[in-house]
């Protein structure tokens, strides 16, 4: 299916009309093939779709029929690989589209999900998602796709899809990994492999990310026996192949950091000085990292905190105070480092400030719990010192 659609797009057909024509061809196939199976199914679909496209242009009644068929999502079929996937991805991730439209169109046209499935994944009514997709297609009506697209946008969209599914909505996470794997078969660009490795390494840790009560468990406290060691091994192998190309980029670096975390038998065995070196490389990718990639600067501060001490890490967070200083992530990193510095009162305040800014219930609950926990530690500490400092702190 993607191959047939890509074939029409290659002849400068507009996206919406081409997709409709392919859908009509598939409907024809369902009627005709049981009695008259074609020798070359793809050629059959391509020629019927092309004919449909001509019909559609000629007749007004065909337009109405197309709109009826529009309600039907694409049929999930065997996915083709190669140039066609790449062309379709560039098309769905057109830079003029909003991120939410890029995500929706990619899942539908490349991922083979129905509008209903996409709507359910993002908790919006089906009619809303149908409208979002048809507006996106209308935007693409006058675009042609002969020029190579922007791979960085495609990678960002795939990453967005994964993170929408990370945790509860794990179907989307699987879809993102499947699509990224398809992409790596279509391009030798090492960043595509870097992203695939990163997503697999993150996905491998999902089983340990929540406890039996659904509460979030942070990396340092996860039961590492629950990690999917086969998926980690695959991710590391893909990363090594990408790094061998000697063309580093942000996703390869993030994957390398994820691999170093995965490599540690326990959190105390984490190789933080190597992780810090990767973060140095990541920050060095931006000309003005505080502005262009403040998240990298902030996450690097955690590594600095482990290598040079929590106080040094806290000082690093100040670099992005102006950009991120009112965000959950900034307060959460500060809280973590303050806790390591054993400043439990300030850590409690910072966790509470992070909780107040959280956008996800599971994260909010986790941060409130952390705040309560460090405040309790602070109280124990005060009691111990209050009685003359003689009692030992457990």
């Amino acid at each position: 299916m993607p191959k047939v659609l890509a074939g029409l797009l290659r002849h400068n057909e507009d996206f919406a009309a081409a997709e409709d024509a392919v859908q009509e061809a598939v409907i024809d196939a369902l009627r005709v093939w049981p009695d008259n199976p074609p020798n070359n199914p793809q050629a059959w679909l391509a020629s019927v779709a092309a004919r449909r496209l001509v019909d559609a242009r000629r007749s007004e009644s065909a337009r109405r029929r197309r709109e009826q068929h529009n309600a039907l999502g694409p049929m999930p079929g065997p996915t083709e690989q190669g140039d066609d996937t790449l062309l379709l991805l560039f098309c769905c991730c057109h830079p003029d589209l909003s991120p939410s439209s890029q995500v929706a169109l990619t899942l539908r046209a490349v991922g083979g999900l129905t509008t209903r499935e996409i709507a359910d994944a993002f908790f919006v009514p089906e009619a809303t998602m149908a409208q979002r997709i048809s507006r996106a297609k209308a935007m693409l009506r006058h675009s042609t796709f002969t020029a190579p697209g922007d791979l960085a946008v495609v990678l960002r969209v795939l990453s967005l899809i994964y993170h929408a599914g990370h945790g509860r909505r794990s179907d989307l996470a699987n879809d993102a990994i499947r699509l990224t794997r398809q992409l790596t078969l279509a391009t030798t660009e090492p960043e595509a492999r870097g992203l695939l490795a990163l997503l697999m390494l993150q996905h491998a840790r999902l089983p340990a990310r929540a406890d039996a009560n659904g509460q979030l468990v942070t990396l340092d406290e996860q039961d590492r026996r629950l990690w999917d060691s086969a998926e980690i091994a695959d991710g590391v192998a893909i990363l090594q192949a990408a790094l061998a190309e000697q063309r580093p980029g942000r996703y390869q670096i993030l994957a390398a950091i994820a691999a170093l975390h995965s490599d540690a038998e326990s959190s105390s065995e984490t190789d933080w000085s190597q992780i810090l070196q990767w973060y140095d490389d990541l920050v060095a990718l931006s000309a003005d990292p505080e502005r262009d990639d403040p998240a990298a600067v902030l996450n690097r501060a955690v590594a600095v905190g482990h290598v040079e001490g929590a106080v040094a890490g806290l000082a690093e967070t100040e670099r992005v105070a102006a950009v991120l200083g009112d965000r959950q992530q900034w307060f959460a990193v500060r809280a973590y480092l303050l806790e390591r510095a054993e400043d439990f009162v300030a850590a409690g305040d910072a966790y509470a400030a992070a909780a107040e800014r959280a956008k996800e219930v599971a994260e909010r609950d986790h941060l409130v719990r952390r705040a309560a926990r460090v405040r309790a530690l602070g109280r124990i500490r005060t009691c111990a010192y209050g009685s003359g400092g003689r009692r030992s702190i457990p």
Binding site: A352, A355, E356, R357, R364, D365, R369, A372, R375, A376
Partner: protein, 130 residues
Amino acid sequence: MPKYLLLKHYRGGPPQHRPSPPMDQWAPEDVDAHMTFLHEVARILRETGEFVDAQALTPTQTWVRYGGPGAAPVITDGPHPETSDLVAGWYMIDVDSYERAVELAAFVSSEPGQGGEPLYEWIDIREVMD
């Protein structure tokens, strides 16, 4: 079958029956018990077939109004008076009667607070129009 919103508030409503500090100042085990209870409420409502929806809101509130022709929207993002209502989230339920909605609201309000004692939080019940 009438539908009701059971609204929880960050602030506002009648004076607290048993005043309580913010949750991040409770003992960790009390926080756990509280959160476990609220998940349990949603689970029970699903089991009884009365659950419609549950959502939580962030505490950031912004008031916006039309600024007039050609003008930017007018925005006030606080600080708002401490006495004003600030909704924290809700359960939407589909129940047989108003009495059942009251019963469920009281159940939510019995959520454990500090020391495992009930929180006695005021719950705002609003009927959804057909």
